[in-house]
């Protein structure tokens, strides 16, 4: 028979755990709200940038009329030999399957690119830890006969990592990363760039996607190469958690600002271009890559907080269930003890 004291101790400990998970849930909810706001605040800029680029496309001959070659290096399609994959995960755990799902998707993506040289840039501590362990960086200097094993496999190397930047995603960081990627792409060191992250449209509209960043195929449209919707069960859980934490399912209404942004540079007039459109186009295209990475980071951060909030909501519910069943067990044990004592007294009295 379980000891009442032991059960009582368990209940106390589970109650403490529940308090922590509850607090974490509320913190994540607050952070999620902020992340959502910031993601929304970035939308007009992205939209306007796309508009200008689109209107420039019609004025600039992107493709050489004679050879059909794209004039801008970022549009050039090359046979894909060297691939760069940017994986965006979280810095911290305790976010349910958030990081695991991303890393699983990353491995699946790597399989589809088997046989090519793959370089990985990780953003977020979790992704770095996992991928570093899986693909330990082999020093090129030491590539002697003892390293033959690594030569058989297609080379997968981790070329960069950004850890601890997710706390405060700023455009400068995204633009710096984009600059680096663009340089390497234009130099021909890499032939394509993919971005793997958790897209976040709202609490219940999230996808794990692999987006092709370079070469740019169609301006204003994400070239999604691999996508996973969230399951029905996950959606339900997320909804539940959002309701309890008081987070809006739909982000704040920004239709007016969005509509204004959509009008940008699309007025049916003949603009005077201070610079030749071609020049403008050239300086804008890299910014487009930067804003794409920036948006991915912001959405990933929002998704991470959402995942953590959902996970902590589930943990809190589980703790409550556990407390209930433990309390029941404790009451039963106490009742059993009392009954036993009464039987002892009664049988004692009857024996006299």
């Amino acid at each position: 028979m379980p000891n009442i004291l032991d059960i009582r101790r368990r209940i106390r400990s589970v109650t403490n755990t529940r308090q922590i998970t509850k607090a974490m849930k509320m913190v994540s909810a607050a952070k999620l709200r902020r992340a959502q706001e910031r993601a929304l605040a970035a939308r007009p800029y992205a939209q306007m940038l796309v508009n200008v680029l689109k209107s420039l496309v019609s004025r600039v001959e992107i493709y050489d009329p004679v050879t059909g070659e794209p004039r801008h290096p970022l549009l050039a399609q090359r046979p894909e030999n060297d691939v760069l994959l940017i994986v965006v995960t979280g810095d911290k755990g305790l976010a349910g399957a958030f990081n695991t799902n991303i890393l699983k998707a990353a491995l699946r993506f790597l399989q589809t690119k088997e046989g090519k040289n793959i370089e990985i840039e990780t953003i977020g501590r979790k992704g770095r830890d996992f991928l570093r362990r899986r693909y330990p960086t082999s020093e090129p200097e030491k590539s002697g006969p003892e390293k033959s094993e690594s030569q058989e496999r297609p080379a997968i190397a981790i070329v960069g990592e950004q850890v601890g930047v997710l706390n405060k995603v700023d455009y400068a960081m995204a633009s710096e990363l984009a600059g680096r990627v663009i340089d390497r792409y234009s130099n021909g060191e890499i032939d394509s760039v993919y971005l793997l992250y958790n897209e976040f449209k709202s609490m219940i509209a999230q996808r794990l996607i692999v987006e092709q960043v370079l070469p740019i195929e169609q301006i204003g449209e994400a070239a999604v190469r691999q996508a996973e919707e969230m399951g029905l069960k996950e959606k339900k859980q997320a909804l539940e958690a959002a309701r309890e934490a008081g987070v809006g399912i739909r982000p704040a209404d920004t239709r007016e600002i969005d509509a204004a942004a959509a009008k940008f540079a699309t007025a049916p007039v003949d603009y005077i271009y201070e610079q030749p459109p071609e020049e403008l186009f050239r300086s804008l295209l890299p910014k487009y890559v930067g804003i794409q990475i920036f948006r991915a980071l912001q959405e990933s951060v929002a998704a991470e907080h959402a995942a953590r909030m959902t996970a902590m909501d589930a943990a809190t519910n589980n703790a409550t269930d556990m407390i209930d069943s433990l309390t029941l067990a404790m009451n039963r044990a106490r009742q059993a003890k009392i009954t036993k004592e009464i039987i002892e007294i009664v049988s004692g009295a009857a024996a006299q």
Partner: protein, 141 residues
């Protein structure tokens, strides 16, 4: 003709200004542009510099670094990589980066370093300029 125009200044991080203005100055890449209501439609790239716009008797200043602007007769929209109001500028940091950039320019190393340092110097200078405007304003009032 209306005597004001809509003004929006947007950065990747947020919408900085959403206001009505009577006149403004934009640091275009080929030189400063003065804009009054009814301006011909223009699209231009921005240089590092300061934007100023007047609304009634108040004049506002912002330090911007790279971006571009769309001017329409009744609307001006500016996309800037950074746009800071005077009160947001960290004067000490700007001064430090100005000093750093100047030193780098004096040392006279390779080409890439040179353009980057020059950029940094320009950014720092425009920030300081805008920040000074704020002090001037507050001294007057």
């Amino acid at each position: 003709m209306a005597d004001t125009f809509q003004l929006e200044i947007v950065t990747p991080e947020k919408m900085v200004v959403r206001d009505v203005a009577e006149e403004m100055q934009i640091p275009g890449k080929n030189g400063y542009l003065g804009v009054l209501p009814g301006h011909a439609p223009v699209i231009t790239e921005l240089a590092v510099g300061e934007i100023s716009y007047r609304k009634g008797s108040e004049t506002h200043y912002l330090a911007v670094a790279w971006g571009f602007a769309e001017v329409l007769p009744e609307r001006v929209v500016i996309l800037a990589e950074t746009a800071e109001r005077p009160e947001e500028i960290d004067v000490k940091r700007a001064q430090e980066s100005k000093q750093r950039a100047e030193e780098r320019l004096k040392s006279g190393s390779t080409e890439i370093d040179f353009t980057r340092a020059e950029d940094a110097l320009q950014r720092a200078e425009s920030r300081l300029q805008v920040a000074a405007k704020k002090q001037f304003q507050s001294a007057r009032s």
